[in-house]
């Protein structure tokens, strides 16, 4: 009986700690490649993200095969020839919001958020820094960001034949609504 009470505060503490973590399982990330020859976009609606509002730790996890293209054949080429999604099925970002003190998670509004961390694509990890926003509306948190990546930096080889159809820089848009706890 005594031990039970001893564990009670511990249990409460873990409950509080858990409430600081916000999870999204159907977050949205898409990329856009523009050249005069071809416009390519692909959408992933099954991004997992965990945001810890007490530490600012933020993680994104996605399955490369979940990217959907308008053209089926493009999706096939993307998976098989460029990103090699069977060999590297996941892409991750592990980082931190560095201006956490400027964000009031209890008050509705749109706050600029500076994020820095490690982005892994195609098995290659690079450190990136970008800025996005944290939107608070009625207690629900949405994280948004837009940044560019260079496929070549991640060891993604684009054959000369299609070089002028695929942009040297891709626009990545992140839109993650976290489930309200």
């Amino acid at each position: 009986m005594k031990t039970k009470f001893l564990f009670l505060p511990l249990f409460l503490i873990t409950q509080v700690a858990f409430a600081q973590k916000h999870i999204a399982k159907t977050g949205y990330i898409w990329f856009y490649s523009y050249t005069p020859m071809e416009v390519i976009e692909a959408h992933n609606h099954q991004v997992v993200s965990i945001l810890d509002i007490s530490t600012g730790d933020i993680i994104f996890n996605l399955l490369v095969k979940s990217f959907e293209f308008k053209v089926a054949l493009m999706q096939e080429h993307f998976n098989e020839n460029y990103i090699e999604s069977t060999k590297f099925p996941k892409s991750t970002f592990k980082g931190k919001i560095t201006n956490l003190d400027k964000i009031d998670f209890k008050k509705d509004g749109t706050y600029p958020a500076d994020v820095t961390g490690d982005l892994t694509i195609h098995g290659v990890t690079k450190s990136i820094t970008t800025s996005g926003t944290i939107e608070i509306a009625g207690g629900a948190i949405t994280a948004k960001a837009k940044f560019k990546i260079v496929p070549k930096d991640y060891g993604i080889q684009i054959p000369q034949l299609v070089e002028n159809k695929i942009a040297k820089e891709m626009d990545i848009t992140v839109d993650i609504p976290y489930a309200a706890n």
């Binding site: 949205y28 609606h45 099954q46 054949l73 099925p89």
Partner: protein
Amino acid sequence: MKRTIWFAIAIVFFGLIVAIFIWLYAFRKADLSASSQRAETEIAATDLLKKFESNESEANTAYLGKVIIVSGTIDKITEDSTIVSVYIKNPEDVSGVICGFNKTMIDKSTIKLGNSIRVKGICTGYLMDVVLNKCSMEK
């Protein structure tokens, strides 16, 4: 003479139109769901989850990129601008299978929480849950 030239032009023109259609069909084809593809296997959501939990790389080899049918009960339904996500989860399990449907591929009035369903889709892997996309409902 004039007639044969016109005839030749007509044939070339006709051929060109056919070629454009074939090109559009074969190379620019959009595919919103895997409904027309044959499923390689059928498995209960809870069993599929267990396979990924116990040995992810083995499960990846078996299911990644494959068209499969998954069955189970609906635990949650969410949607964004283009995709409806139906979450199949066994009450005893911690996680489940997330099935992504293109909005045009699902009639939301026919799905209710707690219903047993069979979903055909392409397995894209495992994060916190197993993920299926380009889904369609199976009878």
